[in-house]
């Protein structure tokens, strides 16, 4: 069997740490070569006087609520919390354009369960720059939004009855699935009882974001019957939210994701769809940005006019004084 198939079968627990590391480093090797082996440590040394304050506050608010039930992250002085903070702040210096976005805390938290801070940093870099495109976590999350539109197309193609049903009862699937993609299924599928989350991460790190679509469709397919049986928005929404949380049958999920859903859209087809939606989203935000600027300019003119008037009144007043 190929390595891909082996990983789909689940990385044995004792090798997970080592294999995750290797998969991550294989994606970012060129960046490490360019930045040097001590890059992460250097970034950490820059932390005390770097202008990342904008994100510092938000990060500190999220630290204690990333994995509150895990002992490693339970107390504010704990190693896990300190590492989480360092990695997220270092990333803001590394990539000031992206900075911190809620969701990254979960990705780093997951990485820290298996790796040290240094590796966790490179995992975040790999996820944001190599696995995903760098606009995935940008200021409008255009990459993530484009993927949700691609997802809708794939659902319409592969699970057309479900897709029509959701449309009919006015459910926008991305209100549920966006999180699944952005946090790579963290808090969406079971972690403790079955290894569902870890198995998804195994496949993600090995094969890249296409598996996120596969798993999403597999979860929907597993629940297709129940979804179609329900005819009101609320019960379907409820079901969608809760069904992923009880996906304990990981072998069943893997089988649906990689076998039953065949033929799955090709990587290239997904890529060209992504590019198409990305362009239209970017245009939308550009238009919006221009509108905003025009509005701000008008506001400024109005206030300037008001000031001028005030000025002339004061001037007249001074004159009469």
């Amino acid at each position: 069997p190929t390595l891909k198939q082996l990983v789909r079968g689940g990385i044995p627990d004792q090798y997970r740490k080592q294999i995750w590391r290797q998969l991550v480093y294989s994606r970012v090797q060129d960046i490490i070569t360019e930045k040097g082996p001590h890059y992460y440590r250097n970034l950490c040394n820059m932390l005390p006087d770097s202008p990342v304050t904008r994100y510092r506050k938000q990060i500190s608010l999220d630290l204690m609520r990333t994995m509150p039930s895990n002992v490693k992250f339970a107390t504010s002085g704990s190693r896990g919390i300190m590492d989480l903070q360092d990695v997220l702040l270092a990333f803001c210096i590394h990539s000031p354009d992206i900075g911190y976005c809620q969701g990254m805390n979960f990705i780093v938290g997951m990485a820290l369960l298996f790796m040290d801070a240094h590796d966790a940093f490179w995992t975040l870099v790999a996820v944001t720059e190599r696995y995903f495109t760098s606009n995935y976590f940008d200021h409008n999350l255009v990459g993530a939004q484009a993927d949700q539109q691609v997802l809708k197309d794939i659902v319409a193609e592969k699970l057309s009855t479900t897709s029509k049903h959701l449309d009919a009862i006015d459910i926008e699937i991305s209100t549920v699935t966006l999180n699944w993609f952005l946090a790579i299924y963290f808090d969406a599928v079971p972690f403790m009882v079955s290894n569902t989350l870890l198995r998804i991460w195994d496949c993600f790190l090995m094969e890249g974001p296409k598996v996120l679509f596969r798993f999403c469709l597999a979860i929907l397919k597993m629940n297709e019957r129940e979804i179609l049986m329900k005819n009101d928005t609320i019960s379907v929404m409820r079901h969608l939210k809760s069904c992923a949380k009880i996906t304990y049958d990981i072998e069943g999920l893997i089988k649906i994701a990689f076998e039953d859903l065949r033929p799955f859209p090709h990587r290239q087809a997904i890529k060209s769809k992504q590019a198409f939606y990305l362009t239209s989203l970017k245009e939308k935000y550009k238009r919006r940005e221009l509108q905003k600027m025009a509005f701000a300019e008008r506001e400024q003119m109005v206030s300037l006019n008001a000031q001028l008037k005030m000025g002339s009144i004061i001037f007249i007043y001074d004159f009469y004084e």
């Binding site: 938000q58 609520r65 979960f106 999180n179 609320i234």
Partner: protein, 211 residues
Amino acid sequence: MSGKRKPDLKVIIMGDYAVGKTSLVCRYIEDKFIKHEPTIGAAFFLKQWGPYNVAVWDTAGDERYTGLSHFYCRNAGAAILAYDMSNPQTFESLWARFMPLLNSSTEKCLKIVVGTKMDLIPPEERDITLEEGRKLAHELNEGLDISKLACEPYFETSSKDGSHVSEVFECIFQYCLPLSGDQRSKFGLSTSTVDLYEKEPKRATAKKGCC
């Protein structure tokens, strides 16, 4: 579940990150206070109000998720705009960030401003006064007839000790989906309408110093 296809009312909660949006909903729906993970995207809750189904959408605070909020704002009957009473910046955000969103999508949407974490700030240290809060709340509802609203569109709450939390939701529900006194008692809801804020808010709960 009734045979209805859509919820009778959709309420959305917006506000800066970590102001306690999820805690507010959870205090109301589950009557529990727990620290929550940051909400990414949005979370969905359901509440029964007499014969009606109410969907409560809890949105992400991170600014980047703002672009997605049109999904959640669509057809919302009411919006809770939450700010952290111990952090005045979060009050400013209600104007700067969230008003534009609501303006474009839902003119008839009732807007309720809610201060959170009242337990964290002694009355004499607060930056946003009750009057400022109410003023903003009224401005936000300009063009909407809120004379039937049984309370001020402004609340100060603590999800930790539960003060004024259910009042927020019941005030909204009663306005959007009015229930008669008979109906209220039939469904086991308190029969008095909420008017705590008609009088000056009681400050008895905000003890100073240690107990």
